[in-house]
């Protein structure tokens, strides 16, 4: 095991974080916001990578975790006075955990295709419930609320500006990344990868595969919910559109384009996709998905290891 790739890797991470830290100070407001969004979607993509890239379970239901995180945050911000940041996080994570437990129950009973279809159905179930239960969820129009202030236990609070919110998001996402990386490199993470490579063999060796899958789904759901909370904080609204399958689909695109099973890859994939969307919509307006979709499909066929995998191979040779 050579030290140099490790060093290069962490150097890259530090540089990326540094650039993102500086971003809101040097970029015009539109692009500064864009950077914050990349971070949030990147977190969502990382959470999905735990399932797709490490455990080998393609989930089309991440919009449910994300959306419930968002609505959970909304619940906190609308019902507690004054709105408290940490309570918001708690509510959002709790909501996401609830959904994750529900999905985890089924996850262990279904293989591959059935799991994917079921997660898709789940995100649609939640969509329909949220869409039609207008009294509680605001239905089609969603909910709007105000941003809480950044409060430091007892030390006073500071309302967010776009810049400080960005730094808050950056901090949360960076910490999440470090936590997830630690987990994926741990023995637990290795078992997940073993499940992806060869589930029957992993079971035969003696691992309680079901238990690992449940934990993987819970982990994935929690971090996806966290992304939802961050989104609610940034945009101050929650809408059923985010629970609709499309979001799940986009997350999968981030994963594939960036490189499954690398954690950083999906973040890069999110950035790549969002930039492509921005760029293409200048020329193709709302049809940007046609070229992006074609690129995605081509990547599935010819570059299944994603951008990062492709780069890794190039650097190694």
């Amino acid at each position: 095991m050579s030290q140099r790739p490790d060093l290069a890797y962490w150097a890259g991470v530090v540089i990326a974080v540094g650039l993102l830290f500086v971003a809101p100070l040097v970029l015009p407001p539109f692009w500064a916001r864009f950077a914050t969004e990349i971070l949030i979607w990147g977190l969502l993509a990382m959470s999905s990578d735990i399932l797709i890239g490490y455990t080998g379970m393609v989930s089309f239901g991440h919009s449910a975790f994300f959306g419930l995180g968002m609505y959970g945050a909304a619940a906190a911000l609308l019902t507690t006075k004054p709105p408290n940041l940490w309570l918001t996080l708690l509510y959002g994570l709790a909501a996401a955990a609830g959904v994750a437990a529900f999905v985890a129950f089924f996850a262990t009973r279904l293989r591959e295709i059935y799991f994917s279809i079921t997660t898709l159905v789940f995100s649609q179930i939640f969509y329909v419930i949220i869409f039609t239960w207008t009294e509680v969820t605001g239905g089609e129009n969603g909910l709007t609320f105000r941003q809480p202030a950044l409060s430091f236990l007892g030390l006073g609070s500071l309302p967010f500006t776009a810049t400080t919110l960005h730094w808050f998001v950056l901090a949360v996402v960076t910490i999440s990344f470090l936590v997830l990386r630690r987990i994926t490199q741990s023995p637990f993470g290795k078992v997940l990868q073993s499940i992806k490579e060869n589930e029957p063999r992993t079971r035969a060796i003696g691992y309680a595969v079901e238990r690992y899958k449940i934990l993987a789904v819970m982990l994935s759901g929690l971090f996806a919910g966290l992304a939802g909370v961050l989104y609610a904080l940034q945009n101050k609204f929650a809408a059923p559109d985010f629970v609709f399958f499309t979001v799940s689909g986009e997350v999968v695109i981030f994963n594939v384009m960036g490189g499954m099973g690398t954690l950083v890859g999906p973040v890069a994939g999110a950035a790549f996709f969002l930039l492509l969307r921005e760029g293409f919509s200048r020329y193709f307006t709302e049809y940007y998905l046609i070229p992006v979709g074609i690129i995605f499909t081509a990547m599935v066929i010819f570059m299944p290891q994603g951008l990062l995998g492709f780069l890794k191979r190039r650097l190694n040779s």
Partner: protein, 290 residues
């Protein structure tokens, strides 16, 4: 809260009609899955494309049957091209990859439809007008015709598979693709042909459904989702099962819409899926494996 009997009976007829259209979509999907292990995420979008091609043809020629035929043939050819270019290279890779690939195709097709035909919905004029009294309603003849036509197409498929030389090829390839190849059956060609047949059936259902529910650019996803549910409940790869499941699910939804709004009625299909996966994952309508 008692629901009047005639309402229930009307919903039964509606459920049966919708069920037959859904059965047509689902049989294509299950056929494709059975023979090449491909879960075609873009199947509903083939329905949508067929509906648009049909709508355009009917609008220009005034002939519904011509629209049906041209839609089926066009989408069959398109499906064949699609399979050869994007799915054939994926044979042997894990099923995750084909789900992702067909998902990507679905995105492109949906947006393409908007680009090609614009964002507004289309209409297809029904080929037979006129109604007959069904209890307290004037029930359109066309709906009955739709159910009969769907049934006829499925029946034709069944006969084709059971008799005829290509039916044997398809069934043999579905059961054991390696041995079929060793017997001289050109398996890659069979795969393409089956995909084309599935696509044609999807297109036909789109055109048949047109006068019932309109032709919209996002109808694809709805069909895909429902077809997936039907195929799982009916048993993946089981043709008879998907037909029964399609009718079963449509009847459930029809009855549910008596008490809740149609948007919420769709939850019963979801619940049916979940129950199937919990209780009998191989399919509710599959005979117990020996």
């Amino acid at each position: 809260m008692a629901i009047p009997l005639d309402q229930i009976l009307i919903q039964t007829v509606t459920g049966l009609v919708n069920g037959m259209v859904l059965a047509l979509v689902a049989s294509g999907l299950t056929l494709i899955f059975g023979i090449m292990d491909v879960v075609n995420f873009a199947h509903g979008d083939l329905v949508m494309l067929g509906a648009f091609v049909g709508a355009t043809t009917v609008a220009t020629t005034g002939n519904f049957w011509l629209g049906l035929l041209i839609a089926a043939v066009t989408i069959a050819v398109f499906g064949a091209l699609l399979q050869v270019t994007t799915l054939r290279p994926l044979i042997g890779r894990d099923p995750l990859t084909t789900i992702l690939a067909t998902f990507g195709i679905s995105l492109v097709l949906q947006k393409y439809a908007i680009w090609q035909w614009g964002p507004s919905a289309r209409q297809i004029v029904e080929p037979v007008s006129g109604q007959f009294p069904l209890f307290y309603l004037e029930y359109p003849w066309y709906r009955i015709l739709t159910a009969l036509l769907s049934g006829a197409i499925i029946g034709a498929l069944y006969l084709f598979l059971k008799y005829g030389k290509y039916g044997i090829w398809i069934r043999a390839t579905t059961q054991d693709r390696v041995m079929a190849a060793a017997m001289g059956i050109p398996v890659p060609l069979v795969h393409t042909a089956v995909f084309a047949i599935g696509a044609a059936m999807a297109a036909a259902s789109g055109v048949l459904f047109g006068p019932l529910g309109g032709v919209t650019q996002n109808m694809g996803f709805d069909f895909t989702l429902r077809a997936f549910i039907v195929v799982v409940v009916g048993g993946m790869g089981n043709l008879g099962g998907s037909i029964l499941a399609a009718i079963f699910i449509s009847l459930l939804e029809a009855y549910a819409s008596l008490v809740v709004s149609p948007a919420q009625a769709v939850i019963v299909s979801f619940v049916a899926l979940i129950l199937t996966l919990l209780v009998r994952p191989t399919g509710l309508f599959v005979p117990t494996p020996k």
